[in-house]
């Protein structure tokens, strides 16, 4: 639900520009149009399965359970502890689901599936996605697409070969606030002026490695069958080469994708520093800082990304685009979102009047020859007049299911577009290893 100070027509205009037209039917701007949301439930049900019931799978399940017009037919997880608890939880919540250890058994056992959602460790993304696409299913696959560029490229190729849909889980691309800010504020109103820089971060406090309940260990032969050395590696696969890509791909993938999406292109170079400085039992960098260079039509812009896993300091997770006239600081957490206007920029009154921005107070009077004295005025602050109350992954999943139902609906993050971000994220890890600036050509980012 979108609560708006913008009217429905403007909101449609804003989001449709990013290919999110149908999103509106699921993110209604007022209670009146919410009726339209309920009407959507009359659409044919889509039978789907979730492969991977770990932490991310459970976040997706929270959304899947409340999306109308889909039936969760099965879930799959190699860890009996995860599988049993999720099957039980779904059955308790009224879903008649089957549980499988192996995705191939799931495909053999579930004959009426149309789609799968894949949320397994990165190194399994390509094999499972490719198999499911070839089985005639549409696939929503979590980011990263793969732990290797070759794996990601194979997914794009299979998508093209089979003609099936492959949505990658960069869910911000379907977030109405991001779509609005990009299309109305950055591109149309150009509130940042000439873009000169961007920065994004996702810093987290030091934590212990993930554990697991006693008596829930998988047998060594089962772990080996699925590519894990032991239970510790299974639970903490994100930190191991050959399985995941470390924090830069786990957290940075979402935000570096925003750099590319909002700049409208991929960078021409990457420079990075990082290391295994803290967690000596890990194989991926615990802290990393990356600088990308973008050659925009208006000049060079640099984008700095940091992901620290030893401190949560720094103000939460966000992506910030900075220009010579203003700044847009975006986050999935609306309380972190901020807009800043440089004093040299034209005032934003017209944008406020147009409902492109909301303002906390009226602007100070502009007559240079007069002044009024009263109590201290509050600082004028601007905000994005779009909020939505759905779960943050829900619009992206809905876009996927809507695209299955209606060929006129485009995916907000199809695999071939996601590949470009995938490539430059892998390049950041390469740049850390190489300890030098790496050039990135427009050709090599194409799948």
């Amino acid at each position: 639900m979108v609560t708006p100070s913008i009217n429905r027509r403007e909101f449609i205009g804003a989001t449709a520009a990013a290919g999110a037209g149908l999103l509106l039917s699921s993110c209604s701007p007022d209670s009146g149009s919410k009726t339209a949301v309920n009407k959507a439930s009359s659409l044919n049900k889509i039978n789907m399965a979730l492969i991977g019931c770990g932490a991310e799978g459970q976040v997706l399940l929270d959304s899947l359970q409340v999306i109308e017009g889909i039936r969760i037919a099965a879930v799959c997880d190699i860890w009996p502890y995860n599988l049993k608890s999720n099957v039980r939880r779904l059955k308790d919540n009224g879903f008649d689901v089957n549980g499988y250890e192996n995705y191939e058994d799931l495909l053999a056992g579930e004959k009426d599936l149309q789609a799968v959602v894949v949320a397994v460790p990165d190194f399994w993304h390509a094999p499972i996605t490719n198999t499911c696409l070839k089985a005639g299913l549409h696939v929503y696959c979590e980011k990263m697409m793969s732990n290797t560029i070759e794996g990601a490229r194979s997914m794009v190729q299979t998508m093209r070969d089979t003609g099936k849909l492959l949505q990658i889980g960069h869910q911000r691309r379907s977030n109405p606030r991001y779509v609005f800010a990009l299309n109305r504020l950055l591109r149309e109103a150009k509130i940042c002026g000439r873009l000169t820089a961007a920065q994004a971060q996702w810093n987290r406090a030091k934590t212990d490695d993930l554990g697991w309940p006693k008596h829930s260990d998988m047998k060594p032969e089962v772990l080996a069958k699925y590519g894990f050395k032991d239970m510790h590696q299974f639970r903490n696969w994100r930190w191991f080469k050959g399985l995941g890509g470390g924090p830069l791909s786990d957290l940075g993938a979402h935000q570096i994708d925003i750099f590319n999406w909002w700049f409208g292109q991929t960078p021409r170079a990457v420079l990075a520093s990082g290391g295994i400085d803290y967690y000596k039992n890990h194989e991926w960098y615990d802290n990393a800082m990356v600088i990308y260079e973008y050659e925009l039509p208006t000049g060079v812009a640099r984008a700095f990304y940091q992901v620290q896993t030893t401190t949560s300091a720094g103000g939460g997770y966000f992506e910030q685009f900075m220009g010579d006239e203003g700044t847009i600081k975006m986050s999935e957490n609306p309380s972190i979102t901020k807009l800043y206007r440089e004093d040299r920029a034209q005032d934003w009154d017209a944008l406020v009047a147009k409902n492109y921005l909301s303002a906390s107070a009226t602007a100070a009077p502009s007559d240079a020859d007069k002044v009024d004295v009263r109590e201290t005025a509050p600082l004028l602050q601007y905000d994005i007049p779009v909020t939505f109350s759905k779960k943050i992954h829900q619009p992206h999943l809905e876009n996927f299911f809507n695209a299955i139902r209606d060929k006129n609906v485009k995916l907000n993050c199809p695999a071939d577009e996601a590949f470009a971000s995938e490539y430059v994220i892998h390049k950041a890890n390469d740049a850390i290893a190489a300890q030098k600036t790496l050039a990135i050509t427009a050709e090599e980012v194409k799948a």
Partner: protein, 278 residues
């Protein structure tokens, strides 16, 4: 780790401090267990907080009369428990307690059992789970700790609700005081929950859901039950109810015990045995 072999872990959530204390467990495993419990609290907060734009409680607040919302199981269970507590406390506890301050009549809602949906029947459903959500979270954390084979635990939510698991080895229970730090009134608790409500810390913040007026009780009340969600809600209701009403409420549930303290005189109401004094 303390000298008693109790590991203590802290985490900020639900606008307060949560604490997990685990007895008789190896340090790393205890830390990993606490980490899993805190992740569970964070997940519950993302669903139950009215301050999170994407929470189910925020979505419920946007429902128009006649509209329904499909809920995830934790939210459904928490609201179902809230309904039960509202009934059991004769309306002295309600998740719409503050509604009468903004709306002419109390909003009405229902849970549709076979659909796992909530239906808005009238008004604006401004739910505030502040007097049950933390307790509900403690109950779920306790389930997780037992699942992780850490049965000897003490869970604390913001100093106002605690949930004790098994007693630490060789003790009669967890040493718990009623009142400020190092209160003189102390009981050994095990496998039970104690919650306190009062006005000393947050001032006038408890309103009678039936009238919209500030609560009548000026002194603290404590509720001892097995479930932390119940003790959390019951202690709040006890700030609304007079002593006769409390007596009537607790005598209908053998699992409930209420402590009142006025003018340094302790009284307890209910059939549940009073836990041993320290």
């Amino acid at each position: 780790m303390s000298e008693t072999g109790i590991q203590v872990f802290n985490h900020s959530a639900m606008a307060t401090q949560f604490q997990v204390r685990i007895a008789g467990e190896e340090k790393t495993y205890a830390a990993q267990t606490a980490q899993a419990a805190f992740a569970l609290v964070d997940d519950l907060e993302s669903k139950l907080s009215r301050f999170r734009a994407n929470s189910e409680i925020a979505q419920i607040a946007q429902l128009a009369p006649g509209e329904k919302l499909r809920l995830t199981r934790p939210v459904y269970d928490c609201l179902r428990l809230a309904q039960r507590m509202e009934f059991a406390t004769r309306g002295a506890f309600s998740v719409t307690a503050a509604a009468l301050r903004h709306q002419p009549t109390k909003p009405l809602w229902a849970l549709v059992e076979n659909e796992f949906t909530l239906r808005c029947d009238s008004g604006r459903l401004e739910f505030d789970l502040g007097a049950i959500g933390k307790g509900f979270a403690l109950d779920r954390m306790a389930e997780l700790l037992r699942e992780w084979s850490c049965p000897a635990f003490m869970l604390v939510a913001g100093g106002s609700s605690i949930l004790a698991g098994d007693a630490p080895s060789g003790t009669a229970g967890w040493d718990c005081g009623l009142g400020e730090n190092n209160s003189s009134r102390r009981h050994w608790l095990a496998n039970s929950s104690l919650s306190g409500s009062g006005l000393a810390v947050k001032g006038e913040h408890i309103f009678d859901p039936r009238t919209g007026l500030a609560c009548s009780r000026r002194h603290r009340a404590w509720a001892l039950t097995t479930s932390a969600a119940e003790s959390d809600a019951l202690s709040t209701a006890c700030m609304i109810l007079d002593e006769t009403e409390i007596d009537d409420v607790v005598k209908r549930n053998a699992d409930w015990l209420v402590f009142l303290n006025e003018k340094n005189e302790w009284r307890h109401l209910g059939q549940r045995p009073v836990p041993p004094l320290v």
